[in-house]
Amino acid sequence: EPEVTQTPSHQVTQMGQEVILRCVPISNHLYFYWYRQILGQKVEFLVSFYNNEISEKSEIFDDQFSVERPDGSNFTLKIRSTKLEDSAMYFCASSEGSSETQYFGPGTRLLVL
Protein backbone atom coordinates (compact mmCIF):
# COMPACT_ATOMS: atom_id res chain seq x y z
CA GLU A 1 0.00 0.00 0.00
CA PRO A 2 1.45 3.40 -0.94
CA GLU A 3 2.41 5.63 1.93
CA VAL A 4 3.80 9.04 2.70
CA THR A 5 7.40 8.90 3.91
CA GLN A 6 9.33 11.52 5.85
CA THR A 7 12.99 12.04 6.67
CA PRO A 8 14.62 12.39 9.05
CA SER A 9 12.56 10.74 11.75
CA HIS A 10 14.30 12.85 14.39
CA GLN A 11 16.25 16.09 14.12
CA VAL A 12 18.04 17.99 16.85
CA THR A 13 19.24 21.49 16.04
CA GLN A 14 20.52 24.59 17.75
CA MET A 15 18.34 27.68 17.98
CA GLY A 16 18.91 29.94 14.99
CA GLN A 17 19.93 27.12 12.66
CA GLU A 18 18.12 26.25 9.45
CA VAL A 19 16.42 22.89 9.09
CA ILE A 20 14.89 21.17 6.10
CA LEU A 21 12.29 18.49 6.64
CA ARG A 22 11.67 16.17 3.73
CA CYS A 23 8.59 14.32 2.58
CA VAL A 24 7.82 11.98 -0.28
CA PRO A 25 4.06 12.11 -0.90
CA ILE A 26 2.11 9.27 -2.46
CA SER A 27 3.06 9.25 -6.13
CA ASN A 28 -0.24 10.16 -7.82
CA HIS A 29 -1.23 12.75 -5.23
CA LEU A 30 -1.46 16.38 -6.20
CA TYR A 31 -2.18 18.19 -2.93
CA PHE A 32 0.40 18.44 -0.18
CA TYR A 33 0.24 19.66 3.38
CA TRP A 34 2.37 20.27 6.42
CA TYR A 35 0.97 20.06 9.92
CA ARG A 36 2.68 20.20 13.27
CA GLN A 37 1.92 18.76 16.69
CA ILE A 38 3.53 20.20 19.77
CA LEU A 39 3.98 17.48 22.38
CA GLY A 40 0.68 16.60 23.99
CA GLN A 41 -1.30 19.07 21.93
CA LYS A 42 -3.51 18.87 18.87
CA VAL A 43 -2.38 18.67 15.28
CA GLU A 44 -2.24 22.14 13.68
CA PHE A 45 -2.36 23.06 10.00
CA LEU A 46 0.65 24.91 8.64
CA VAL A 47 0.37 25.09 4.87
CA SER A 48 -1.18 23.52 1.81
CA PHE A 49 0.48 23.32 -1.60
CA TYR A 50 -0.91 22.61 -5.04
CA ASN A 51 0.33 23.16 -8.55
CA ASN A 52 3.68 24.41 -7.29
CA GLU A 53 2.30 27.14 -5.15
CA ILE A 54 0.94 27.68 -1.66
CA SER A 55 -2.85 27.33 -1.55
CA GLU A 56 -3.33 28.37 2.03
CA LYS A 57 -1.19 29.00 5.08
CA SER A 58 -1.90 29.46 8.75
CA GLU A 59 -0.71 32.31 10.96
CA ILE A 60 1.93 29.92 12.32
CA PHE A 61 3.51 29.78 8.86
CA ASP A 62 5.42 33.05 9.04
CA ASP A 63 8.38 34.30 7.01
CA GLN A 64 10.69 31.80 8.73
CA PHE A 65 8.90 28.94 6.97
CA SER A 66 8.97 27.99 3.32
CA VAL A 67 7.90 25.00 1.26
CA GLU A 68 9.19 23.65 -1.98
CA ARG A 69 8.67 20.80 -4.37
CA PRO A 70 12.20 20.65 -5.81
CA ASP A 71 11.51 17.67 -8.07
CA GLY A 72 8.68 15.36 -8.99
CA SER A 73 8.75 13.40 -5.78
CA ASN A 74 9.95 15.43 -2.80
CA PHE A 75 8.11 18.08 -0.80
CA THR A 76 10.15 20.02 1.73
CA LEU A 77 9.53 22.31 4.67
CA LYS A 78 12.33 24.73 5.54
CA ILE A 79 12.58 26.61 8.78
CA ARG A 80 15.09 29.37 8.21
CA SER A 81 16.08 30.28 11.76
CA THR A 82 14.68 27.86 14.29
CA LYS A 83 13.26 28.96 17.62
CA LEU A 84 12.75 26.93 20.78
CA GLU A 85 9.00 26.98 20.18
CA ASP A 86 9.45 25.27 16.81
CA SER A 87 10.11 22.04 18.70
CA ALA A 88 7.29 19.73 17.62
CA MET A 89 6.40 16.75 15.49
CA TYR A 90 5.98 17.81 11.88
CA PHE A 91 3.67 15.78 9.68
CA CYS A 92 3.48 15.82 5.93
CA ALA A 93 0.21 14.77 4.28
CA SER A 94 -0.95 14.33 0.72
CA SER A 95 -4.21 13.78 -1.09
CA GLU A 96 -5.22 12.84 -4.59
CA GLY A 97 -7.64 15.70 -4.95
CA SER A 98 -8.81 18.69 -2.98
CA SER A 99 -11.79 16.79 -1.60
CA GLU A 100 -10.04 13.50 -1.05
CA THR A 101 -8.64 11.84 2.06
CA GLN A 102 -5.40 13.24 3.43
CA TYR A 103 -2.80 10.58 4.18
CA PHE A 104 -0.24 11.43 6.82
CA GLY A 105 3.39 10.45 7.04
CA PRO A 106 5.01 9.16 10.24
CA GLY A 107 6.37 12.59 11.15
CA THR A 108 9.71 14.22 11.94
CA ARG A 109 10.33 15.03 15.56
CA LEU A 110 12.20 18.33 15.69
CA LEU A 111 13.94 19.41 18.85
CA VAL A 112 15.41 22.91 19.00
CA LEU A 113 17.94 23.48 21.78
Binding site: V4, Y33, Y35, Q41, K42, V43, E44, F45, S48, S55, E56, S58, F91, A93, S95, S98, S99, E100, T101, Q102, Y103, F104, G105, P106, G107
Partner: protein, 111 residues
Protein backbone atom coordinates in the same frame (compact mmCIF):
# COMPACT_ATOMS: atom_id res chain seq x y z
CA UNK B 1 -15.16 30.07 14.68
CA UNK B 2 -12.62 27.59 13.37
CA UNK B 3 -12.45 25.58 16.60
CA UNK B 4 -13.38 21.97 17.01
CA UNK B 5 -13.97 20.99 20.63
CA UNK B 6 -13.41 17.39 21.65
CA UNK B 7 -14.23 15.48 24.80
CA UNK B 8 -13.30 13.66 26.89
CA UNK B 9 -9.56 14.27 27.06
CA UNK B 10 -9.02 10.69 28.19
CA UNK B 11 -11.22 7.63 28.37
CA UNK B 12 -10.83 4.21 29.94
CA UNK B 13 -13.16 1.46 28.72
CA UNK B 14 -13.32 -2.21 29.52
CA UNK B 15 -12.67 -4.70 26.77
CA UNK B 16 -15.90 -5.41 24.95
CA UNK B 17 -17.46 -2.12 25.98
CA UNK B 18 -18.50 0.88 23.89
CA UNK B 19 -16.14 3.84 23.59
CA UNK B 20 -17.77 7.18 22.81
CA UNK B 21 -15.90 10.35 21.89
CA UNK B 22 -17.69 13.61 21.16
CA UNK B 23 -16.87 16.65 19.08
CA UNK B 24 -18.55 19.97 18.45
CA UNK B 25 -17.82 22.55 15.80
CA UNK B 26 -18.78 26.15 15.18
CA UNK B 27 -18.14 26.82 11.51
CA UNK B 28 -21.26 25.85 9.56
CA UNK B 29 -19.23 25.86 6.34
CA UNK B 30 -17.47 22.67 7.38
CA UNK B 31 -18.58 19.84 5.14
CA UNK B 32 -16.21 16.99 5.92
CA UNK B 33 -15.71 15.37 9.32
CA UNK B 34 -13.02 12.69 9.61
CA UNK B 35 -11.78 10.80 12.61
CA UNK B 36 -8.09 9.98 12.82
CA UNK B 37 -6.42 7.35 15.00
CA UNK B 38 -2.87 7.94 16.18
CA UNK B 39 -0.54 5.45 17.86
CA UNK B 40 2.52 6.70 19.75
CA UNK B 41 5.29 7.78 17.41
CA UNK B 42 3.10 7.46 14.32
CA UNK B 43 1.21 9.86 12.12
CA UNK B 44 -2.56 10.17 12.27
CA UNK B 45 -4.36 7.55 10.17
CA UNK B 46 -7.86 8.07 8.80
CA UNK B 47 -10.35 5.85 10.58
CA UNK B 48 -13.71 6.91 9.23
CA UNK B 49 -15.25 10.09 7.83
CA UNK B 50 -18.69 11.54 7.25
CA UNK B 51 -20.26 14.33 5.25
CA UNK B 52 -23.24 16.28 6.62
CA UNK B 53 -25.77 14.83 4.19
CA UNK B 54 -26.03 11.68 6.34
CA UNK B 55 -26.65 11.29 10.06
CA UNK B 56 -24.71 8.09 10.60
CA UNK B 57 -21.96 6.09 8.98
CA UNK B 58 -20.80 2.67 10.09
CA UNK B 59 -17.66 0.80 9.15
CA UNK B 60 -17.18 -2.42 11.07
CA UNK B 61 -17.01 -1.63 14.78
CA UNK B 62 -16.71 2.12 14.16
CA UNK B 63 -19.71 4.42 13.79
CA UNK B 64 -19.92 8.17 13.34
CA UNK B 65 -23.14 9.86 14.46
CA UNK B 66 -23.70 13.34 13.07
CA UNK B 67 -26.15 15.97 14.31
CA UNK B 68 -26.09 18.90 11.91
CA UNK B 69 -28.53 21.09 13.84
CA UNK B 70 -26.51 20.72 17.05
CA UNK B 71 -23.20 20.96 15.20
CA UNK B 72 -21.97 17.85 16.92
CA UNK B 73 -20.57 14.52 15.85
CA UNK B 74 -19.34 11.52 17.74
CA UNK B 75 -17.34 8.35 17.29
CA UNK B 76 -18.62 5.09 18.74
CA UNK B 77 -16.32 2.09 18.96
CA UNK B 78 -18.30 -1.07 19.61
CA UNK B 79 -16.78 -4.14 21.27
CA UNK B 80 -13.66 -2.12 22.15
CA UNK B 81 -10.41 -4.09 22.04
CA UNK B 82 -6.97 -3.50 23.60
CA UNK B 83 -5.65 -2.82 20.07
CA UNK B 84 -7.99 0.17 19.91
CA UNK B 85 -5.93 1.89 22.62
CA UNK B 86 -4.67 5.03 20.88
CA UNK B 87 -5.30 8.75 20.65
CA UNK B 88 -8.31 9.71 18.55
CA UNK B 89 -8.70 13.08 16.87
CA UNK B 90 -11.83 14.42 15.31
CA UNK B 91 -11.35 16.97 12.56
CA UNK B 92 -13.37 19.17 10.28
CA UNK B 93 -12.74 20.91 7.02
CA UNK B 94 -14.35 22.72 4.16
CA UNK B 95 -13.98 20.67 0.96
CA UNK B 96 -11.34 18.56 2.73
CA UNK B 97 -8.80 21.31 2.48
CA UNK B 98 -6.98 22.26 5.66
CA UNK B 99 -8.07 20.04 8.51
CA UNK B 100 -8.96 21.63 11.83
CA UNK B 101 -8.31 19.06 14.52
CA UNK B 102 -9.85 18.58 17.92
CA UNK B 103 -7.63 18.33 20.98
CA UNK B 104 -7.57 14.54 21.00
CA UNK B 105 -8.83 11.75 23.26
CA UNK B 106 -6.48 9.21 24.73
CA UNK B 107 -8.40 5.94 24.78
CA UNK B 108 -7.26 3.03 26.94
CA UNK B 109 -8.99 -0.33 26.73
CA UNK B 110 -8.47 -2.46 29.82
CA UNK B 111 -8.97 -6.24 30.07
Amino acid sequence: QQQVKQSPQSLIVQKGGISIINCAYENTAFDYFPWYQQFPGKGPALLIAIRPDVSEKKEGRFTISFNKSAKQFSLHIMDSQPGDSATYFCAASFRNEKLTFGTGTRLTIIP
